[in-house]
């Protein structure tokens, strides 16, 4: 497969000790149409690659003026390891924006909740919501913490928690959510992270606020045509790539 949808890489970075990678690429068409919660689909391995499937990665930020799009990712396997070697000036083969993002209503008080690689998706949301939201982020340990200064720069409130207490408070992000909700006044909760976290937050929200979750599933086409990436909902299977990745939690069957 070759570079059919090439976008020039304008910057790459390793974020702190976490090993998390950042790539910023120029794609005016994506930057000008995308919204938080949407994702891009990236071809890995180069022109002679044996990797057939694109890798879905959330849009962590976009700037209409410069046409730049920001993605952040952990190295999980062959595809992300390959992406991590890309350099400024090289071309990324990228399709997007894909999927339905977070519904944003002006004037609401919101929580954005992120765990693991889920924080990149809500980072873009925090940028759009700014002071209208507070970000609650969970990490396994302090060495994995990253992207904090970006959240801070968007003027949203911020609380961090680590599973092992190696930085800040010890515990799970769900505790922070519970405290904020108990404090009252929250209209909407948005969350992206492991299924266990999304489900736990669902139990905590318990109808006290609107709750939107961003789901992950292995994908084929990425555009809604192949039925590979489905999730259980009250009305049967829906497609994560096209009907989501963001769903209103009331329709999702958490198991």
């Amino acid at each position: 497969m070759s570079n059919y949808y090439p976008a020039e890489i304008v910057g790459t970075a390793v974020l702190g000790d976490s090993g998390v990678r950042q790539i910023v690429f120029r794609s005016p068409s994506i930057a000008s149409t995308c919204s938080p919660g949407q994702f891009v689909n990236i071809a890995c391995g180069g022109e002679h690659s044996s990797h057939i499937l694109r890798r879905p990665i959330s849009i962590a930020g976009a700037d209409r003026e410069s046409g730049c799009v920001d993605i952040r990712f952990d190295i999980k396997g062959a595809g992300t390891a390959w992406m991590a070697e890309l350099k400024t000036g090289e071309l990324l083969d990228v399709i997007g924006p894909l999927g339905k993002g977070y519904p944003v209503e002006p004037g609401k008080k919101c929580l954005v909740v992120g765990g693991g690689t889920g924080i990149y998706s809500v980072l873009f949301l925090a940028k759009v919501l700014g002071a209208g939201c507070k970000a609650l982020l969970g990490f396994r340990n302090s060495s994995l913490i990253n992207s904090i200064s970006d959240f801070e720069s968007y003027g949203c409130g911020l609380s961090i928690i680590t599973d092992d207490g190696s930085s800040g408070r010890k515990g799970f992000v769900t505790e922070l959510v519970a405290e904020e909700l108990d404090r009252g006044g929250i209209d909407t909760v948005y969350a992206c992270g492991p299924m266990g976290m999304l489900k736990a937050v669902n139990d905590i929200v318990g109808g006290r606020a609107e709750y939107y979750v961003s789901l992950e599933e292995r994908m084929g086409c990425g555009v809604g045509a192949c039925m590979a990436c489905v999730c259980h909902t009250l009305v049967g299977y829906k497609r994560v790539c096209a009907d989501g990745p963001v769903f209103n939690a009331v329709e999702v069957c958490f198991k």
Partner: protein, 314 residues
Amino acid sequence: MNEHVKKDIIKGVDLSVNICGVNLRNPVITASGTCGCGEEYAPWYSAAELGAISVKAVTLEPREGNEVPRICETPSGILNAIGLQNKGVRHFVEHDLPRLKSEGAVVIVNLAGRQVSDYAETASIIDGTDADMIELNISCPNVHKGGMAFGTDKNMAAELVSEIRRCTSKPLIVKLTPNVTDITEIALAVETAGADAISLINTLLGMRIDIRTRRPMLANITGGLSGPAVFPVALRMVWQVKNKVKIPVIGMGGISTGEDAVEMMLAGADAIMVGTAMFADPLAPIRIRDGIADYCAINGLPAARELTGGVIIG
């Protein structure tokens, strides 16, 4: 039958083909299960630009399909086990078919079932519509009663085809599974039983295990292998079948470039289908169509259909 369909002439090359009486503007058909009912690829191309679209398998009743994960990657290929998720033939006839036909697409309805009576009833319903062709899927490896048993036994295959032949006067394509010892035996059986054309290959049965969790990569345990990895197997089977049957052959399995399509036609395909390649490149069918035209133009062939069976042996 569908004389209004225009011929694609690209770089002076006539790309049109005729498959058992149905005119296709070009030989590129999108493969069942990989293009839904065409809607999702609308940002890249309209189904009317294709030779035809073979829609996601329809069954008599709606089907939920398998649990996730339904897909995983293999070297130059993928495994899938969707399990024929679809909303049933009635929903298809009411919602998808009219839209596709009004857009001007040539529509092939991929038909699956559990038993002969399912298939028959579904075929009868399709027969009453303006769908262009039926593709009988006797080859789905991902559901326990997905028709693969029909496709691996020449007698069962022949019986099913005869029965469906009685239910419809529409051109009947029979789609074969590659998971057999002798593909020509099945091909001959379905030809004799009344098939108007043969399409092949469906996916090769495969499996992967996640060595971190030690669990199968797919919830269904096994799945169907497609993509470039299977291309040489598909090409061999198309060649073998074309040498045995008189009816048209539609070749597929791993086609991802115009060159691959040309190779498949040289092996004997009258038209070709493109599936997995769209996952990497949504524009693959259009790129492949143009690639066929390029090859013909460079090699002085006035019409793409002259490629069919053009391999030189000996």
